[in-house]
Symmetry: C2
Subunit: 401 residues, 2 copies
């Protein structure tokens, strides 16, 4: 295969952008270099020469000699505008922005087809774990039945430290923010939105189903207390924030909810900022991929791998999606393939019993009340969970059993 | 990318061949079919129509309409003759024969270049785990420092059952042979040769270094007793047959030896026929891949994935090997890059103290003698291990600490 030189225009020089810069400079034999970097803050001190930087995105987007745009900024809407413009200019794009991808997938897919450009995004799910590429290339003809895993480094870091250091949520969160493992507004991470966006992307590549973010229920560890960790500990379990996407009959169940896992699970020992993805297929059986899910260099190396793939004109084939699309050429509403009306067994900790009224509880198997903490183990109709979806005021901690 | 239809000539219809047949028949959208199957035994009953079979390899090798040969026979020398002839005829080959690949790698590499054909072999290491493809494609620009793991399903199956069922080696081995997890002559598996061949292949794709099988020391579980399992158990350890290949300074250490692993290791819970590979890189940090390492369908699905890759003319790029080769175009003796003269700490169980005389023991840290069992914990010069290499009469059980 003919390899070509890659000249990169980079948007963003935060954690991942700097990681990419380091990794690229130390990689051997890759014919790629960063030509310009667009950043927002003129006053922020930078670790490399000022000449690299521009503050005007048009400097990069209208640059004639760039053949790849790497988009690594925080703001999903600004990212989308940049990526769209680049693709319409016929330039291939590497991004790690799962929110942007999840919110705009249909349009981004069409832009790839219309402009015959590549949009690749290994860094957007699983950090350094090559999960999207493996789903695309290795499991492309495999009948997969399930993809699940730990996809958010922040949640896993907090959960691990709470358990191993016997600490409360707020203390560990504060520490995580200081150490760069949590954002100053951690909501997207701790409430499970980030995990959900990644689940949405994996569901596209594993099953060819495109969902909208609001089609997927998520709740996270935002209301966890040390009591919940203790409950798990006493039973030899650990709490892990999981993405799940699996087939039941002709339908799929897709959600992002904390789960108890026991020590026979490969996920039990995946701790701190590590991520893990389990892929189950009819013939390959269960495969587990474990690696660092966050951090400057691990994610930078995933982005580098995408850049390297562009040197031989790599594109996602979206084979499973194309099969779902069929001859219409139009991506259908994946929601019709998703099952919502099924019973799910949950541990629910509450402060005020009235908070449970929003859920359609089918049966209660256990109930515990005390002056300190209250919980029930109950079977709940899954679809009723949407009644508490994305409500910051809601104080329930929910964990699947 | 233009995809093409694949018409396959298959050699061998044993465990993996039948697995491939099943997986291929149930895969969706792959434009590949098996045209003829060459087998040896005319009298063996077959699960599919007799018309598929031929007993003359020339029927396939001279067939004009086949564009891929899939080689899945046991005998490495016969396999090599078939693969060589196919490649010289300009036909691409998929194989899972690690012994054949390890023993003839230089010639097979040259044949790929000379004939511009592909030779791909994901099923040859790690069973269903996509390790070679990931080393080739995903870690192609990453400075890797270590690749290690559990690569032999037979050893791991035996070790797991010995530990969990408190059984002796010979009983479990017999059971494994009945259940299809061990060959009737298990030597290549239990003595670590199979693990070593796979190590050799991973070392090519991870570091670009080509070794000869005899350059790599291996010993296995052929002399293990329940006493050794008990020793590990009492200390919270497990014995795992490991392949290791890692960089120390400018040199590499490559060997296949049983190791004690503790429960903090990702490998601790990889049991029965599961395999695991840990890849460490400067930037991606440690990644672990776990999946079934043996069996009809898991290995069949790895072979299927290779066939699928040939629909878009995939070839290994051997990027790291090409860098080592440089402008000479000739593969150098990798042995010059390997370190042999270093101390290694070992647990050695022996029956007769004289058996230890062949090893250059630097220091003994512990010594245990009883009427039943004797062992030492000692630091040994690694290169002296070659004095007991491949000696069936040797009764030492060696386990790295």
């Amino acid at each position: 295969m003919e390899k070509k030189d890659i000249t990169i225009g980079l948007f963003g020089f935060g954690c991942v952008g700097q990681g990419l810069y380091d990794v690229l400079n130390h990689s051997q034999g890759l014919r790629a270099n960063i030509e310009r970097i667009c950043v927002k803050d003129k006053n922020k001190p930078r670790s490399i020469a000022a000449g690299f930087f521009t503050y005007d995105k048009e400097d990069i987007l209208t640059h004639k000699d760039l053949n790849v745009i790497v988009e690594l900024i925080d703001n999903a809407d600004e990212a989308f505008a940049i990526v769209k413009q680049a693709m319409n200019n016929g330039v291939s794009v590497v991004t790690a922005n799962k929110k942007m991808l999840a919110e705009n997938f249909r349009e981004l897919y069409d832009l790839q087809i219309k402009n015959s450009v590549a949009l690749i995004y290994e860094g957007s799910a699983g950090g350094s774990i090559p999960i999207i590429r493996n789903l695309e290339e290795y499991y492309d003809n495999e009948l997969l039945s399930s993809v699940r895993g730990i996809l958010n480094g922040t949640c896993n870091y907090i959960l691990t430290r709470m358990e191993l250091e016997n600490k409360d949520y707020s203390d560990v969160l504060k520490d995580a923010q200081v150490n760069g493992f949590a954002e100053s507004d951690p909501w997207l991470d701790v409430a499970g939105f980030d995990t959900k966006f990644k689940t949405l992307l994996l569901t596209i590549h594993a099953f060819g189903i495109v969902l909208n973010p609001e089609d997927i229920f998520n709740t996270g560890i935002q209301n966890i207390t040390y009591d919940d960790i203790l409950y798990a500990k006493q039973r030899g379990l650990r709490i892990k924030m999981l993405a799940v996407s699996y087939k039941v009959g002709d339908k799929f169940r897709v959600y992002a909810i904390p789960h108890f896992v026991d020590k026979s699970s490969e996920l039990f020992n995946v701790n701190y900022e590590y991520n893990a993805v389990e892929v189950e297929g009819a013939y390959s059986c269960k495969q587990t991929f474990v690696g660092k899910g966050a951090g400057s260099h691990p994610t930078g190396s995933a982005v580098l791998s995408d850049i390297s793939a562009l040197t031989y004109d790599y594109k996602y084939g979206y084979k499973k999606l194309k099969k779902q699309i069929g001859i219409s050429g139009k991506i259908e509403e994946g929601k019709s393939l998703i099952e919502y009306d099924f019973p799910i067994k949950l541990y629910i900790r509450y402060q005020d019993r009235e908070q449970l009224n929003e859920l359609e509880i089918i049966s209660v198997e256990e109930e515990y009340k005390s002056s300190g903490t209250n919980y029930i183990i109950a079977t709940v109709n899954f679809k009723s969970l949407f009644n508490i979806y994305d409500k910051r005021g809601n104080k329930l901690f929910i964990c699947a059993i």
